[in-house]
Symmetry: C2
Subunit: 327 residues, 2 copies
């Protein structure tokens, strides 16, 4: 592919918006910017997945749920919110094997490119970035969404008022000029954010008032798996709820606590994926799990069912009596 | 132990310095401070090891050597240096299972305690901490040293000039009043910092000019193991030099590259610890390795030697001809 004579992407494919009156030297026509955009598209056919994973990873590392039990960026301290931008810069550099620029964060397709993250709706641009391209990134973890775009920074696309560090925000016109690499990306879900406040507080208080209460991590994990059924529970969620390194072990140990309540905890090994599929549920991959309450059913029930230890089980319906799960 | 009728430590054991003229209400006599000090000593008999590991972990996480190749805190950006204080606060809270305070970072022995980190020689104290106890921590990674102490914050132990955030530094008198939990701790060594600039640049440039050059990680690891022999190479060093997640695999793969040069790479499994011991070398634990060039010797050599594949090997002396290592 690298030696192919014809370019993989034709510049015309990017259809830059026609210049509108008053926009002057339209930044979206910048040839460097087109090169950078082309580089990203050539680099990966799954840009959305790759950026989504990098932003998810960055947010999760700064939340540090394993030590802090936090799952919401709103809980971050100011220094951590600032640092999140640096972490995103580092994780994206590593994910795309980007070189350092001479004056900006990255060198991409021989262009100086600065990484700019925001947790809000606008980006703050330092004076040094004027004349260079910015890789603009933002995410809304509550909406499981993110955006990534490119913009050549010129004075005329920034608001006039600078903050005390001489940084300026993008003007409305500037934001319109952004060429989106990923205009509406799907951020890998933060499971704990999707739960009701009632479920969350029941889970986090299941082990007693203090996170470090002995046995508390196991009780919190048990409660998580009682309340979140039929959905894949990822490793970050497990270590955040356990608030300890061996969250995965707590999930495996939950099997014996939840078995009397009829709840199966399925992983990625042995027959578990087959059982999940037969029950009509998502299949956990390595480092993720799924819990589900089951009931014995007869062969003609018409419900998706899995044979376990010679008996047929289906996902228990609400109201069906609790019987022990197979082991 | 919790129910023992007599306290494990007697307050008198702590021998607070006799008040000197001019010190006023000496902060070191604060009863809360004595309680906090006592709590730490009761909590762990290996305080130095525990704090040392927590500070090492904090520094290594912010360096993020696996992604960045960095090993020196001097290379951190300003936002990262600020964040390091937050990371230390989080890692120490987790290491000692500390509760959050109502107004300060921690609640220890019913006292509000604020975590304060400095990379320098003095600490910057916010106004809110006045009247409370600070857990003062600092480390010098180049000297493999760290200090941890306690101080009750009062107005009279701080310098007068406040910075723009209203924070003040400790006065010389204030620093003298610190009650050291660990006055001169040994920080787990940062191996890369101990190498000469020549060795470091040979290692980091072995793979070509770009960190992400294919095969570069393997070449850097090979060069590390050529130049650092007879010393334990820890996992952080391996992933920083490889600048990739599978640094440990690169170390294992180095065996076949270095075998023709007479270099053994020993790990913690199989016969490796036995061989290391017989050669008179440190024994690698899980997640660490040790490389050494060996030569065949005769039984009467008097040199510490290990029998491998029926032949006797000792650590090669400088100048001894290179012969392939046993596999």
């Amino acid at each position: 592919v690298e030696n192919a004579p014809a370019p993989l992407f034709d510049v015309d494919e990017y259809r830059p918006a026609a210049p509108r009156a008053g926009e002057g030297a339209l930044s979206t026509h910048d040839s460097g910017l087109v090169q950078v955009e082309r580089w990203f598209h050539r680099h990966s056919s799954s840009l959305e997945e790759k950026f989504g994973a990098a932003l998810r990873q960055s947010i999760d590392e700064v939340l540090d749920g394993q030590r802090t039990g936090r799952f919401d960026v709103e809980e971050l301290e100011k220094t951590e919110k600032t640092y999140l931008g640096t972490k995103v810069e580092i994780v994206v550099r590593s994910a795309f094997d980007l070189d350092r620029g001479a004056s900006m964060d990255y060198s991409i397709a021989d262009c100086e490119v600065d990484a700019k993250w925001t947790s809000g709706k606008n980006w703050t641009i330092p004076t040094e970035a004027v004349g260079h391209i910015c890789l603009l990134m933002s995410a809304d973890d509550h909406e499981s969404s993110f955006r990534v775009g490119l913009l050549k920074i010129t004075d005329d696309i920034m608001n006039r008022g600078a903050n005390k560090d001489g940084k300026r925000t993008l003007s409305a016109e500037g934001r319109t000029a952004i060429r989106w690499l990923i205009p509406d990306g799907r951020l890998p879900e933060n499971l704990l954010l999707t739960l009701s406040e009632g479920d969350r507080s029941a889970i986090f208080n299941a082990g007693g008032p203090y996170r470090a209460t002995p046995g508390g991590g196991q009780k919190r994990i048990n409660e998580l798996l009682r309340r979140v059924q039929g959905r894949v529970v990822d490793r970050t969620t497990a270590i955040t709820v356990a608030t300890q390194l061996d969250g995965p072990k707590r999930v495996r140990d939950a099997r014996k606590y939840l078995q009397p309540e009829g709840i199966l905890v399925l992983g990625h090994q042995g027959n578990d994926p087959k059982v999940a599929r037969a029950l009509g549920l998502p299949v956990p991959t390595k480092g993720s799990w799924l819990s589900v309450r089951v009931s014995r059913v007869s062969p003609g029930s018409g419900r998706p069912a899995a044979t376990i230890n010679g008996e047929l089980y289906a996902v228990a319906l609400p109201g069906e009596p609790v019987e022990p799960a197979p082991s």
